[in-house]
Symmetry: D2
């Protein structure tokens, strides 16, 4: 069965206890929750999964736990490593662990040219045991990939299963990619900040870490149903919360998952910034406004909200 990179694929945080130990129990709760809300897969070990702060052994534990707890949901593993060799080693491990696909960003090398980036992905994709999602996120990699390069990768690399389009401004690039690389699906991220514009530009869905993935599911459902007014209303309703939450670092996102009863702690591994308690008041307000004071520990019933 082939992996399809489409729909809503939430990026999951990596839960830690207050002492920064891995918290696999919370991870299982997270998977159990997202299985109930109609997502199409999950991604672990992404940038906001603090992948860089994990040892290889911890990454393996996170992935194995996620695969087991995901049940039928395909699990995409963030696999970006500095070189082809290390990335491929990780992809092997991910395949053995039961991942359905991997997500790979170009190595963060100052002055790496497009030729080297092409070679990197060609090396990673050659006989890859898993489909590869190419992540275009210059904010974390400092590497620019032109639309031309992405199109060429999509044309040449059979294992390439999709593009995670996160280079600002996203909409114009999504438009070009959908036209010139129609073979590969394009999902967008950036915490859904530009979700309305991404959808208008032809994005096939969302691969991002907003702590209410049911919002992304409903947003995409409405958009696919052609209900553009409802789509826009739902987007607008959550936008203040989205703006707050998409700021760099996973701290606010983890705090929301904590409030939802999923994470035991909002702890971020040092030297990442911790959640700032001074944010409490505004976060509480925004949550209440967006959800109409709903019980955060249950899945939101968004169709009720938006028609009310």
């Amino acid at each position: 069965m082939r992996f399809a990179y489409r729909g809503v694929v939430p990026i999951l945080p990596t839960p830690f206890l207050a002492n920064e130990d891995l918290d696999l129990e919370s991870l299982r709760r997270l998977l159990a929750f997202v299985r109930t809300i109609g997502v199409d897969g999950v991604t672990v070990l992404g940038v906001l999964g603090e992948a860089a702060a994990l040892t290889d052994a911890e990454a393996r534990d996170v992935l194995a736990t996620a695969v087991e707890a995901a049940g039928p949901l395909p699990v995409v593993a963030g696999a970006s490593r500095y070189g082809v060799r290390a990335t491929r080693a990780f992809v092997e491990m991910a395949a053995e662990s039961g991942a359905a696909a991997v997500m790979v960003a170009p190595p963060s090398v100052d002055g790496i040219g497009e030729t080297a980036v092409y070679r990197y992905f060609a090396g990673v994709c050659a006989d890859s045991p898993l489909p590869v999602v190419v992540q275009d996120h210059p904010a974390s990699t400092r590497v620019q990939m032109s639309a031309d390069l992405l199109v060429r990768l999509a044309d040449d690399l059979e294992s390439m299963a999709g593009i995670k389009a996160e280079a600002i401004p996203t909409a114009p690039k999504v438009r070009i990619l959908k036209q010139r690389a129609p073979r590969v699906p394009v999902l967008t991220g950036l915490g859904a900040l530009y979700a309305r514009f991404d959808l208008a530009a032809g994005s096939d869905g969302f691969n991002t870490g907003f702590a209410f993935p049911e919002f992304l599911v409903e947003l995409l459902r409405l958009a696919n149903a052609g209900a553009s007014e409802a789509t826009n209303a739902l987007y607008a309703r959550f936008l203040p919360l989205v703006v707050l939450e998409q700021q760099p670092g996973p701290a606010i996102r983890k705090e929301i998952w904590r409030r939802r009863g999923i994470l035991a702690s909002a702890r971020v591994r040092a030297p990442g910034a911790q959640y700032d308690p001074a944010t409490d008041e505004v976060l509480t307000q925004l949550l209440a406004e967006a959800t109409a004071n709903a019980d955060l520990t249950a899945a939101l019933r968004l169709s009720d909200l938006i028609h009310s």
Copy 2:
């Protein structure tokens, strides 16, 4: 009369004709317009004023035109140059041209340390003929200024008249600055993306380039009046447009001013990105939604909108 850095101080784009010639006529229209909407000053020659794309002579023309057209409104001139000497030369010119203050960011030097940044501002502020607003905007300068450094600058430099706080996340830093450097006002920017959170953190107002400055005026008025529900409703109403408009580069902003009948052209100087016509549909929708189909060429009557 002393300059007060407070309230709403819109950052104005620098208008060009389609052939990239300076368009001072449009600049005059822009000033004439903002004089009618209750702002507290204007800033020209900022990052989004494409200051780096102007010759010194053009910068002088823009400033002189703005001062003349501003009437009683104080004009803040973006004055960031690479070194103390060139910045001071610019400040002299700005003073002679009738500017009320200057805005200065640290020089974009890889690996410049806080000691050198301190010395830079000390040099710029010493016997400065104009009050100096310190701009903290790492996205354009790649220079980090710690809250400690900003507090020290505020303590030591009498000419320092304010801080433009644009380092993400803005709210925690604003909170610290208001507590530890109470002498200097702090305005926030970033296209008003975080306006609600900035206000909650104690921001004294806005110094940013959103193409509906009357929105910023009303937002601040409501906040200062303690009308927090109305503040939040107004913020939410404009937020989708704010999100679209705050993306890097002045193109969308200039297109809105063009639609408002102020700019003759949305032209951005090369190699800056031009307005992408594929954005037309979504921009038109967002403008209609935010303004309730108001006539864009007139000042918005926001109190009507928000109470309706």
Copy 3:
């Protein structure tokens, strides 16, 4: 008469007095000196000419003074500005001031792609009143230009008169450029650190700021005469001094010119780093060793040195 970008074209520092005022008197002395040593031209207003620290008016003064004092020597003016428009305005001024050519680096814009860099140079070169030397110096611009791009520029832009190749490692790129873009000469720089390897790779000469340009002249003469052993011996003799002097910033270079009796002061404009007096001892030693205790205020007689 066409400008030929070849031979030895020293990059001149911009002299300042101790109070950071422009010191045009020292600049005239510098030109008078280099006219006596057989160079093929000079460059003013480069990176090490602290061009970014000058106002437009000062840059004009420096250029006019240099042209006047250069006599028959062609003067290349550093003309890099942020956008096509400002660069072209500068080039116009340079042409009126009597410059023979301009040197232009791509604008230092994060994430600028090769398409935008191509457009920038196409815009600068179109109907340019002066020949354009393209500077490839990622250390100052943070912009990578692939050999492919440089070849394409050389193929397409008639006004392009040469390439200043300063992307490390220089030798492999020089080799490619000489093969694939034979129309345009390639000079190398970086303070002559890699001079021996650059020459072996086919560099047409030097366009750099080492404070003994007579060394560069002799080195190239020997290399062109096929005297490879003497070339290598001369390179080795000066290399310790070259290594010291090529460190970032113009301070050591200016100090040497001061000791040579040319500059009144080694002053660098803030926030550039000043000459560190703790370097005195080692600099004095290196100068004595390289020059065999020659009188630094006279042109070195290098043929004597190297055969002794």
Copy 4:
């Protein structure tokens, strides 16, 4: 027995076969060789050891092999990881593997301030099972550490065993550190490019990867014996080779070790740049010149060379 960070501690490359497999056999040969030439220790898994291109398991294999083959020589393990937690996990592993110390650079996080860097090292050093060498190498980390910060770290962190000073210009910083942080030794690196100046500034020795570590041993011996003329002569003799070899990337260095009969292959893991065969001619010349046509597969007898 306490680890002393002093003398000559060569940074070893990580050998790969032509197919990029780890080549532990070559690593053993490398250790066997350096044990014969009087070095004071070795460092594995540094930047030039391509540590970022290894999996954790490979890093462990490299370290275990090096420790076993090093015999009495202390082995310093490059241990830089993104966060305190991952770094500490690596240090634990290194301690169990028999490393004598670890070398740690600050995490490469855009805009990380000195407070966060301090916290990072404080976290790494707290109850560390191994002494910690702090590496100051902005070229690879993009993080600036002021002399003030380094002094504070040396004052506060008992586990801190030394500073690898590789921020250009190195000499002034070495001078400050020797004066203000006399407790900790300072070694310098950068391929020995600035060795003469570093020694003059008070560097306690070398911790770098030049492929003739016997050159570094002799250079330091001469300097410590006060034989400054011989020191300078030896430096000058090798400098052209040093200049060639210190260029970014381990390719030339690995090729020299291959020619010395130690490495089976000069292979660099993709996307690192491979050795460019066009360099062959100049490299062969430089080796012959520096070593007076010595047999490269034996340790150089440098005292013969320099007195000849």
